[in-house]
Symmetry: C3
Subunit: 387 residues, 3 copies
Amino acid sequence: MGPAAFDLSLYLVTDSTLLPPGVSLISQVEAAIRGGVTIVQLREKKIDTREFVTLAQSLIPICRSHGVPLLINDRLDVALATGADGVHVGQSDMPVRIVRVPADVKPNVDIVDKVIVALKLIRERTPLVHNITNFVAMNDSANILLHIGGSPIMAHDTNEAAAIVSFCGALVLNIGTLYPPFIEGMKVAAAKASTLSTPIVLDPVGVGATSHRMQTALTLLNDYKVTILRGNGGEIAAIAGQQGAQSRGVDSVGAVESPEKIVQGLAKQKGVVVAMTGKPDYVSDGRRLARVHNKSRYLPMITASGCMVAALTGAFAAVCKDDPFVAAVGALVAMGVASEMAESGHSGPHPLKVNGPGTFRIALFDAISHLDGDTIKRTARVDFEIL
Amino acid sequence: MGPAAFDLSLYLVTDSTLLPPGVSLISQVEAAIRGGVTIVQLREKKIDTREFVTLAQSLIPICRSHGVPLLINDRLDVALATGADGVHVGQSDMPVRIVRVPADVKPNVDIVDKVIVALKLIRERTPLVHNITNFVAMNDSANILLHIGGSPIMAHDTNEAAAIVSFCGALVLNIGTLYPPFIEGMKVAAAKASTLSTPIVLDPVGVGATSHRMQTALTLLNDYKVTILRGNGGEIAAIAGQQGAQSRGVDSVGAVESPEKIVQGLAKQKGVVVAMTGKPDYVSDGRRLARVHNKSRYLPMITASGCMVAALTGAFAAVCKDDPFVAAVGALVAMGVASEMAESGHSGPHPLKVNGPGTFRIALFDAISHLDGDTIKRTARVDFEIL
Amino acid sequence: MGPAAFDLSLYLVTDSTLLPPGVSLISQVEAAIRGGVTIVQLREKKIDTREFVTLAQSLIPICRSHGVPLLINDRLDVALATGADGVHVGQSDMPVRIVRVPADVKPNVDIVDKVIVALKLIRERTPLVHNITNFVAMNDSANILLHIGGSPIMAHDTNEAAAIVSFCGALVLNIGTLYPPFIEGMKVAAAKASTLSTPIVLDPVGVGATSHRMQTALTLLNDYKVTILRGNGGEIAAIAGQQGAQSRGVDSVGAVESPEKIVQGLAKQKGVVVAMTGKPDYVSDGRRLARVHNKSRYLPMITASGCMVAALTGAFAAVCKDDPFVAAVGALVAMGVASEMAESGHSGPHPLKVNGPGTFRIALFDAISHLDGDTIKRTARVDFEIL
């Protein structure tokens, strides 16, 4: 695949040292885009890497919501860390060959197209998703499933957990507020789902915190046909490390620092799709790897945002039974794109102005309901490679 | 009762084929009402029934919030399905006699006046409502009870469930996330409430999904003095069908298609008030029937909306002990009218613009707190008949 | 400390009898402040005390959010009840000596400065707060802890409760939806926290409602090293009265009417800091007493507002281990100031307009995230005295 074609007709090169006092770069860029700018190059020579990354992260949702690409001047590392659309290379900068690598890899049209089809199927089929989840996330999980077009059911009682699984499209297990009766319910439901080949999503919340959580997560992972394992970096690393500790001694520590290797290795070892959320999110089934770069900075400020991704993963898994890798990527793209729509105020006819995590959470619920294929096509930032 | 008197001084007849490009009929009607129109006739000759119903449903909250009646041109079926205020009959249309039937039946002033008095009593007395409900709905139920003027208590532990009932005005039982200790708590609380003649509201969430839920719901219904049974169409039909299956063999399937018969029959058989939510809602105590037509299209998009109606039913039941039929109608009117106020942005001094299910849910909480007798009087659409 | 210096350059004296029809005093005062008024005197000669108090309560958040002091004309009682900034005394009014008393006592700079440092530490250290709380409050508690800068963990299972405590900065116990497995979890966690001297916050929700709750609360209070006891007036009075009943017969009833004595007495008797929320909030450790006057009128209209204060108290306690009195005051100041910011629409770049309890709750979450030292310094109203 060749480099993406950019519309260079009105090209803004930023220079934060020229800003008038009291004016932020972000507001200037937004004003320029409204004025017709077609492409933005973020050029910062004097700030340190962390500041540069933060600045780029702030600009991306603004650019993306207007369909305007953001280039990073010279710094491939910053472009990769933030998922920007490309890197500008001048004569005194890095060699061109390396710089073009990420532009060649993304956006991956095939995987994004598959996600769009999956979203359409959710809206058409209203899949029933059975959740055995934690007390904190129950209400949010039910709402986000309804908003995307699915239908949530919460039922952990062993008297009915298997019966519920039998007519649902997916089963989501979340160990956030672990408790013996819930563990029993999870086992009964997971056994039934394994028998019926109903997809199982496992969210090992806080698995590294106590041995009780680790033991529970490993039991579910090893004894039943878990389809997708979704956790944050610490959680996935803990599971990988635990296994590593048994087989590779102290090497497990080093592995935590290589997210691609962790997700790929764990996916192969367990025969599951692994989805590790972070910046970016990583997904692998052992032979494919995707990075999803869409993410609002507000997502980590609200509770249950990871649990909601797991719930959405259930909805996607119910309509992508033949390819759970697409399901995992789809849920992350849906949450990531919707979170950027919410933050930037580009969703629906009367977008709620985000003023903090409270309004963001409400705007996110609205955005999930407005999510559509066109928006995903225009704004999804997914790297994809065959391993 | 004769037909309602309409103010015909400025009469808008819509014609969507004359709209300028890019302008919606809804925005045109709203602008016309703001301009002084006193009555609206929706006239659509070329769209199919489903589109016609959808369009009427969109216009009703707008008209209602301004106190402007909406008539449907010619189509009695559309008027009945949507609860519009009347039907316009021209020379080439249906015979006049039939058309006037719904206009003769509603609005029922008596029942609406009773609902208004009940709301006033809730505000004056702040009734304590004891809820043993599901994990998903607990927070929302507590908030909506506070917002309407009641006081929520959640307590399922058998060590205190009876003690709590003894000083509460109503008991709400909801089987949404069934679990043995909750069932035990429900039984202890229901036994105490039966002894004290404290009203019991039963919400059989998902009762048709598993035999465990059905058995639990029937135990509560048969062994204790349940006052009001509130469920959606599927849930009420399942309970009626289950009973029917025992006594009428396979006939139960047919019965599901006659909502009036189901609610009336089940009310008589069990000696309870049955409230079946849907479009419209049906309420019967066996000798009376009410249909409540108020409902925002967003209500089915948020979780726990039915559970919240059950919680509100508890508040109304606590102040309408002599007539639980009024209590059931009152909760449905309160939720229905508030949901229309929220959707149309006519509630309080700074109404939140609804942009999807997230903002709708917040606007609904505000609207419940602003609900008053005048608004109910002006906008409630209730059919009432003695059976 | 002498009386606070006021900027008298543009002094507004209200007179509601001169208002044009349809204009509220509140909107007039707000307009005047925007026009440059530096101090406001509320002067009402003809309304009764309750109306006067209500009016002053409405004006305080508006004045405070602009840094403009509010004086009450003549009525020391109204000033004390509402926490206004001072009293205006004319020639025909009360003697000057008495009037100056509250001005001499507040604002207490030292305690407020300590609160500001504590908030800064929360933001820097992101303390982990372990919550064993009720089902209604779990989601709200987790969100508010994230929004202020802490990190919530919910875990009640005896298999892991102690392990979780061992790496957390504070433990919050809330008996709102009591249940044997939760009580067992609380005991295990409290035992571990007592051993490690991890601060324990106890929220005895509804403790006066049943003997089961009272017994549970007293067990936790007497058998473990509870650091801060936080409840509303009825709850704290019930615990004090229960103890009083054992030692002082029927006298306990009288004690309920003296909030200062109750909090001081209970603090001494149990060796804990007692925080009693109300209007105002009272905090004592037995030798010091603080009154926190900041509070939006919407706070009592949302569920779990007290539970959220308890959660915030955990975050403050985690960074104020040497002085839990400051932690208790800090959480009340944070909630009180943020609630006034939310109500008056002065928080962040795009404040959500509050239109009722639904929007207030969302604005409150935003405001907690925007809370800073400057705002606290400018608007906190805390009385402080050494007993």
